[in-house]
Amino acid sequence: MDPSAMTLAKLQRGQKYVIQGVDATDPDVQRLMVLGLVEGAEVELASSAIGGDPMEFRMFGNAISLRREQARHFAVSPAGKGE
């Protein structure tokens, strides 16, 4: 994935995002997709542990924690206003 692209690993707190693309070649990433991290899902950064890794995301009321390394497989864009 393009290193300058906006991914889950670079989210700002307090802003909502929508997943736009998933690099699904890694089986671990496929497993995350089964948990709901797919295109169209609305996500938000909730917190991070010491050192900013792992990170905790919220999507549709669920909280999921990922390492930065895995979060890079998910391209996002800021959600439109009112969403």
């Binding site: 699904a24 990433v29 089964v34 295109e39 991070s48 010491i50 050192g51 792992p54 999921i64």
Partner: protein, 739 residues
Amino acid sequence: MPFHPPEKVSKETVTRIPADQIPVRRQPSASIAVVGNPNSGKSTLFNRLTGMRQKTGNYPGVTVEKHVGVAKVGDRSIELIDLPGMFALSAHSLEERIASDVVLGRMPDVPRPAGILAVVDTTHLYQGLYLVQQLLELGLPVLVALTMTDAAKAHGLTVDSAALSRRLGGITVCPVVATTGQGIDELKASLAKLAEMPEPNPPEFWAELSAASEELARSMPATVPRIEIERALIDRGGELAEEVAGYLGEGGAETLEAHRQHLFGSEPPLANEARRRYTWVRDVLGEVQHAAPVITTWGSQLAGFMNRPVPGTIGLFLVMAIVFQAVFAWATPLMDAIDAGTAALGSLVESTLPEGAFASFIADGAIAGVGSVIVFLPQILILFLFIIFLEDSGYLARAAYLMDRLMRSVGLSGQSIIPMISSFACAVPGIMATRVIPNRRDRIATILAAPFMTCSARLPVYALLIAAFVPATDVGFMNLQGVVLFGLYLLGIVAGLVTALVLRQTALHGPKPTFALMLPEFRRPNMRTVFMQLLGRVKIFLKRAGTVIFAVAVVVWALAYYPRSAEIESAFDGQRASVRATMTGAELEEAIALLDNENAAAQLEQSLLGRAGKVVAPVFEPLGWDWKVSAAVIASFPAREVVVAVLGTVYAVGDEADEATLTDRLTAARRADGSPVFTLPMVIGLLVFYAFCLQCAATIAVIRRETNGWGWPLFAWTYMTGLGYLGALIAYQVGGGAG
């Protein structure tokens, strides 16, 4: 293109009925399977529906627990099977495979369920509906219970259950609050009718996939379920794919792969499934759920604060410190009471029964042996209460998240934290909990680190020695005994982590593990669920005390009592007679008591246990152990807490028998030259030995089962015992105990 299946997820073999032999007819009396996401309130609902009418067993051949209960609806009894929590029927973990085998009727001893009760957390509909959609395709009647509707309401979240029912093809949807019982009667009424309900009409999901499985089914035995063929197409390289390919005959794997190419192109099938299903889920959510699920409960606020890096990490250590302090401080009054009761019962037996082998057997064997272990029940209760509470409140998952960084530095992931924290209660469920770790190398490293965590069976040993030999002075807000106990817990943690690190650098070298975890919201644990779990644990502990520990206590008593030497007996009788002739009053009583003790000590020394202890004593001499301690340690290899019972027995028949409790007897124990046996360096060495040594047959058995061979358990035993010996040696020699 030749097709090579990737490495299997797990090597554990599951006993299952071959797909071409599944009984075709549905049994009229069959039970209902309870299925849902982890933390969906499934167990709380199951407990609410069945009350005390439940039993726990194991699925054949595997260590996954099987919970079966009976719900009463009027005069009808409905059997419910509580399946392990899962996110999808994709068989990524052993639990998921077991769950799908049960619902498909492939589990021996478990008849195919007549229907499914799908438990969906209203606040987590997103993942819940994904699983429900899969369940609807199984060809069984499905009933949906929407749990946590009270929590949803508090979040300003409303779900239109009528609209949801419509989107799910007209099946019944029951909103419930399992903790208060709201909606339970309606749910029970629907459960009673479930078996007669028609198969659901699944929302049309994937016509091409159904067509492909229909086509493949034509060249397979008629009983192979369509859903299994579909899963074989999606889960490339899974066990099902292999089995289904087998039914297709030669070239089966290639045929399946050709269908995959046609259906999915270059997209991974699982990714395709997830994209499709969640598109449907979002569409349904938009129709049935109103108001955005913004979660601002006290739980999520606390979670927000506790997840901040620094407060969270400090909080975690504080929580652990409080647990250990509580285990020591709260339990003391209860333990003193049990101790006094045991001592009183023992002397009552001795004074009422005629002197001889039988009285000694009851008082010194059965009562002293079992009593010395039962006395730790209060501490174990408190420890389990905390562990269950932490788990049920969702805190353990937070701990995994907070500790991921630390675990990564030893080559593991935060996921290894949950098995390790569970191992503080008992390594057996802890090792079973490693199944959530997908990578085999990470899993084995965690399995070998877990037995180093201080389990509840080590607690009696620690508690006895600390109470006897560490002064109860105050150190800050804790007392020194608590500090030493905390230190021993830390020692176990460090040893476990170093073990994992070394293994990950050597025998288990491989790519770094990944980490992904659903974080449940903090919630107040349901007291009913906590109570049921606690009761189960106490039963196991008492059963062990009543069987294994009782048996060992009796055997050890016999070894310590027999053979009786008639010569010693008559020699002492002679001495007693001469004392009686020359002394009177208190002086006489004292002299007789002294002679009685010397008599007992002489008998013990030439007993089988005495002789055996002396044979092995040279091995343990460098650790400062006398033959009694050596014999007790040897006897405790099947179960470490037995050492307390054995010490209780050997010191009950020796020259310290005058002292009322075991603690006093140990303090009074002397070597032949009159120096105390239990010096501080020796006690510290003994504590270190118990901190490291793998003295637990149950743990060895579960390691064998989980790693599928004797290699790892043998390695673990040798390594941990060697480390224990070395640790005790260093503590004793450096502590100057030898001089």
